[in-house]
Structures are given as structure tokens and as C-alpha cells.
């Protein structure tokens, strides 16, 4: 790649990291309920979309940005609890097929309802930080990208604190480790499941709000769940650190591949990685090896 100077390479790294950060956030929001209840939420992409639209509605009611963000997260978390309580809890012990298809159906319903109400229009959410690119040394950075990367770092730090220090975080880890033992220790497993879904929906909404000023709000926003799934597979399902690493790695790979070989390959690469990983190392880079029977 003689054509690629180190400056272009760094510039690409910056945009790759920001795309990867989004993947990482969504992958995290997939991994948290999966770790707690072994349910992979295929509707998570639509929860990202929903978060963006909630932000849009609140903004249209005149809520300023600093108040809109926490309000959006709270509403999204309530949605997460609602979905868990209404649809997931009755079938949490059902076969995997039921859970996969049920979460898919939930996602399809949310997307279809959004499309009915807002059609295929693209909305832009005004963010106070959006503006022209700022120079950082020899590079130029879109402030939205910097905010995405920064927010992801803060989010990951907060999650680490949450899982290490708080009672609820420790309870979630206990349930993930051994549900029966956790129940015997007096942990309310149902409450943990509900909290995991609330947390995951709120994190999804963070991704939606971060994406909104960059790509615009549209019903297909949730399509990025596919990339997040790839990221989660790379990291190994249920490994939160793996999810973040997988997201960042995928963002970088995709950006460099797109710059070098064109858009078509950029689209194909994530699925090539997905299929290769599932066939060769389904437990991901960090997942524990399972005995295969």
C-alpha cells in the first residue's frame, strides 16, 4: 500500500475506531442480557432505532439536549423492562428456536410501527457538539466521531464500575455464573433479568443517540445489529471485554478494507468473518471452550 501515507492510515484509524465504537456499544447491549439469561435479543437493533426516535420526539417537545439524553435513556430502559416482562419472561425456558424467532418478531413489529408512523424519511437530531471538523495535530476529526469514541470509553468504564462495585452488578454476575446458586443466595433472578434488559435497552439508546447526528434517523438504523452480532461473535458471546474488542476490530477492518478494495468488499467482509468464526471458533476469541457433544 504505497499509496497510503501514514496520515491517511491514521485518519482511517480514527473513523474506523468511531464506527467500531458504535458496534462495540451495540455488541455490549447484546451481551448483557445474553450473559444473564442466555437470550440473544435479535430486536436489539430496533431498540437502537427506537432510542434515536425517542430522542427525536423529546427534542420536538422542546427538551434541551442535556435533559433529553437522560430522559431518552430512562424511557428506553422502561421499554426494555416492558419487553422482558411481557414477551421474554413467559418463554425464557423455551427452546432456543422460540427465543430467536420471538425476539426477531419483536424487532420486526417495532420497525414496522416506526415505519408506519414516520415513513422512510431521514431526520437529523441537532447535537450541540456537531460542527465542522477540528484539527488534531496533522489529522482532521469530525467532532461527532470524537464524541462517539469518548462516550464509548466512558460507557465501558461505567459498566466496569457497575459490575465490580454495585450490588445489582454483582447480582447480575452471580446469576450469569450460576443461576440456581444465585437464587439460593436470595438474589431475585427475575429482577436481575429485568434489570439486564433495562440496561441493555438504555445502552442501545445511547448508540442510537450517538448515531443520529452522523447518519440521520431512519427505520433501517437497526440494521447495524448484524455488525454488532459479528462483533459479539469475534469477542465470544457473553464476554463484555470481547464484545468491545470485537466491535473496534470490526470497525477498523471494515474501514481499511473499504478504503483499499472498495465498497462491495466492505459489505461482504463482516459476514465472511462471521461465518469463518462460527465454523472455526464459535466460542470467539475469549469465550470458554465448550465440550462438543
Amino acid at each position: 500500500m504505497a499509496l497510503m501515507t501514514w496520515r491517511i492510515a491514521l485518519q482511517l484509524a480514527l473513523s474506523g475506531l468511531s464506527v467500531g465504537s458504535i458496534y462495540a456499544i451495540v455488541a455490549l447491549s447484546l451481551a448483557i442480557p445474553f450473559k444473564a439469561s442466555r437470550v440473544l435479543n435479535f430486536a436489539q437493533g430496533e431498540l437502537v432505532t427506537l432510542g434515536a426516535y425517542i430522542g427525536l420526539v423529546l427534542t420536538s417537545y422542546g427538551l434541551p439536549y442535556p435533559a433529553m439524553v437522560p430522559a431518552t435513556l430512562v424511557i428506553a430502559a422502561a421499554f426494555g423492562i416492558l419487553i422482558e416482562r411481557l414477551f421474554i419472561r413467559p418463554i425464557v425456558a423455551a427452546p432456543e428456536f422460540t427465543l430467536v424467532i420471538a425476539t426477531f418478531a419483536i424487532g420486526l413489529i417495532i420497525r414496522a410501527l416506526i415505519r408506519i408512523h414516520w415513513q422512510d424519511n431521514v431526520f437529523f437530531l441537532p447535537a450541540p457538539y456537531a460542527g465542522p471538523a477540528v484539527p488534531i495535530g496533522p489529522l482532521r476529526a469530525n467532532p461527532s466521531y470524537l464524541v462517539i469514541i469518548g462516550s464509548t470509553a466512558v460507557l465501558v468504564a461505567l459498566l466496569v464500575l457497575f459490575f465490580q462495585r454495585t450490588r445489582l452488578g454483582k447480582a447480575m454476575r452471580a446469576v450469569a455464573f450460576n443461576e440456581t446458586a444465585a437464587r439460593l443466595m436470595g438474589i431475585s433472578v427475575n429482577r436481575v433479568f429485568g434489570s439486564a434488559w433495562a440496561l441493555s435497552a438504555a445502552i442501545g439508546a445511547v448508540a442510537g443517540l450517538l448515531l443520529a447526528p452522523v447518519v440521520g434517523i431512519n427505520p433501517e438504523l437497526g440494521h447495524l445489529i448484524l455488525k454488532a452480532l459479528v462483533a459479539a461473535v469475534i469477542g465470544g458471546f457473553g464476554s463484555l471485554g470481547g464484545a468491545v474488542f470485537g466491535g473496534l476490530l470490526l470497525g477498523l477492518l471494515e474501514t481499511y478494507a473499504g478504503a483499499m478494495f472498495g465498497a462491495a468488499l466492505k459489505e461482504i467482509i463482516p459476514f465472511g468473518i462471521l461465518i469463518a468464526f462460527l465454523l472455526v471458533r464459535p466460542q470467539g476469541l475469549w469465550g470458554a471452550t465448550q465440550v462438543r457433544v
Binding site: 428456536f97 424467532i101 418478531a105 457433544v293
Partner: protein
């Protein structure tokens, strides 16, 4: 006993109705009938894989797309007659399905769902990228199909689809009751036990996937002849979910269930014509409701109702 006789009478009535449809129905009714038949073919194949063998497939719609595009390209670009292009489409779909399933035969559950989801995405990207060949997002218009130089009229096409569907349903019925069908059920219930009984789970899954792919390829090939126009949105994830809805609502693991599900759920949107944009919502809500409230589906629920009645009559608990 009466319930069995009732079921036979219902099947006979349905067959008569299907045969007589072009005599009294409008051309739109005939078209709708053809769509139902195609959905039946796709559902029967998917039900063997998912209902009997227990394997999740989210890419049944893309297998159908492969069958449809192969048949369409052979007839429009290569000038092959429909009679040869339809089997060719089935063969290509089966081979592609098998080549996806061969490496994935050790996977199941969630991981299989992810692989098939990835495959779905790759197929739709491929259709859009190779737009010179496939027409991309603008779709592909087809020549009117003809069988050995004899063009199809509306009614002959209907009867052709009806006969092919009847053969496919009989085939699915026989597969399900053959030793392979029982092996599918064994693998679903416990791969370990199946292995102990000298049933190779990997090989059986590969077989189930290939058979399902063949049905999907056939459905796709018929679809091109009936609709005359294909584009990638016909074969996206919501199409896969619709086919899954057919078998979940009809009854998993039952050929009759596939047929009932396909008929009911193809007609349903027609009954709700006024609320067309709610199509996806209604489908998904039905799917979700069926999964949560009636996981056995229509046929399974009727069957268990029947056996409970009989048990009550015989004085069993």
C-alpha cells in the same frame, strides 16, 4: 374416530376446492391460489428442517431467491425452456444449501441462526452487487414461461403449480414418515441419543438442510412463473420470518400444519386489505402470540384437544 373422518373429509373438500377454483374464481383468485400453493411448498420444506430436525434457518427466503433467480436467469438470459430451468433451479439451490450446511452441520441453535442470517445477508448483497446479471434492486422482469414450446395460460399455469405442489406435499409427507424423517425427529430430540442409535446427526442435518433447500428452490422457480417479476425485497428477512410464521402457526413438525399455516396466513392479509401497511405488524404479532400462547400451532392444538377429549371419554386421567 369421528375426528379422523372429519380430518379426511376436510382434506378431500380442500382438494376439491383447489381443483375447482379456476371454474368459479376470478383471475385474481387463481393468482392468490398459486401464491398459496407456492407458500405451501416452501413451508413443507422448512417444516422438515425446523419442525422435524429442529434446526433454525433464517435463510429459507434466500434459498428461495436462489431458485427464483436461477430459473429466471436461465429462461431470460440463456433461453432455456422453463421445463428445464425449474429442475436446474432446484439442483443449484440444493447444492448451495448443502454447501452452506456442510460446514455448519456441527452447529445448532443460536449459532446456526447466526450463520443462516449471515448467509441471508450475503445473498441479498450479492443480488444487489451483481446488478448487471440480476437487475439489482430494480428487479428482473421475466418472459412468459412455456413448457416445451407450449405457453402457459392462466389456468394451465394454475393446474401445473397445483400438480407440482401436490407432488411436493406427498414427497414431504413420505420423507417425514420414512426412516430419514424419524431420524430428523431423533436428532431434534437428542443428538446424543440419535448418535447412540447409529444415526449420524451431522449427516442427518445436512440431509434435512438439502431437502429444505430443494423445496425452497422449487418454490422460487414456481414463484418466477407465477409472478413474472422478482426483486430482492421479496426474499429479505421478513420473508424468512413469514415462512417461519407459516409453520409455527400451522404446527411444527407436521406436513398438514405447514399446509394449514400457509393457507391461513396467505389469506389473512387479503382479509385485512384495508390495513396493508400493517402487514408486517400483524404477521409478527401473530408469530409472537403463537410462540407465547400456542407453541403447538393450529394442528398440534387440535390434535391434543382431540386426544384429551378421547381420554376424557375413556375415563383416563
Amino acid at each position: 374416530m369421528t375426528a379422523i373422518r372429519l380430518a379426511h373429509a376436510a382434506i378431500a373438500a380442500a382438494a376439491l376446492f383447489a381443483l375447482a377454483l379456476p371454474l368459479f374464481g376470478s383471475s385474481y383468485h387463481v393468482y392468490l391460489g398459486e401464491l398459496i400453493l407456492i407458500n405451501i411448498v416452501a413451508a413443507v420444506g422448512l417444516n422438515l428442517l425446523t419442525g422435524n430436525c429442529g434446526q433454525i434457518s433464517l435463510c429459507h427466503a434466500s434459498l428461495m431467491a436462489i431458485g427464483a433467480y436461477t430459473t429466471a436467469l436461465l429462461t431470460t438470459r440463456a433461453g432455456v425452456t422453463y421445463a428445464a430451468a425449474l429442475p436446474a433451479g432446484i439442483v443449484v439451490t440444493t447444492l448451495l444449501g448443502a454447501s452452506l450446511s456442510y460446514p455448519a452441520r456441527r452447529l445448532s441453535g443460536l449459532y446456526l441462526a447466526l450463520v443462516t442470517l449471515g448467509f441471508l445477508e450475503v445473498v441479498s448483497i450479492a443480488i444487489e452487487e451483481f446488478s448487471d446479471l440480476t437487475g439489482g434492486v430494480r428487479g428482473l422482469k421475466l418472459v412468459k414461461p412455456e413448457l416445451a414450446g407450449w405457453p402457459f395460460g392462466t389456468n394451465t399455469l394454475y393446474y401445473f403449480v397445483l400438480v407440482v405442489t401436490a407432488l411436493a406435499v406427498c414427497g414431504g409427507w413420505n420423507i417425514q414418515r420414512s426412516r430419514y424423517g424419524r431420524a430428523f425427529n431423533a436428532v431434534r430430540q437428542s443428538a446424543i441419543v440419535a448418535q447412540a442409535l447409529a444415526i449420524p446427526p451431522g449427516g442427518i442435518k445436512l440431509l434435512a438442510f438439502s431437502i429444505a433447500a430443494a423445496f425452497a428452490g422449487l418454490a422460487g422457480g414456481l414463484f418466477t412463473a407465477v409472478v413474472g417479476f422478482i426483486d430482492p425485497t421479496e426474499f429479505d428477512i421478513s420473508a424468512s420470518l413469514r415462512q417461519i410464521t407459516f409453520i409455527v402457526v400451522g404446527g411444527l413438525g407436521s406436513v398438514v400444519g405447514s399446509v394449514v399455516g400457509a393457507v391461513v396466513l396467505t389469506l389473512l392479509p387479503e382479509a385485512l386489505r384495508g390495513a396493508k401497511e400493517y402487514g408486517d405488524v400483524v404477521y409478527s404479532a401473530i408469530l409472537l402470540g403463537a410462540l407465547v400462547l400456542a407453541p403447538k400451532g393450529i394442528v398440534g392444538s387440535l390434535a391434543s384437544l382431540h386426544s384429551r377429549r378421547r381420554a376424557a371419554k375413556d375415563g383416563l386421567p
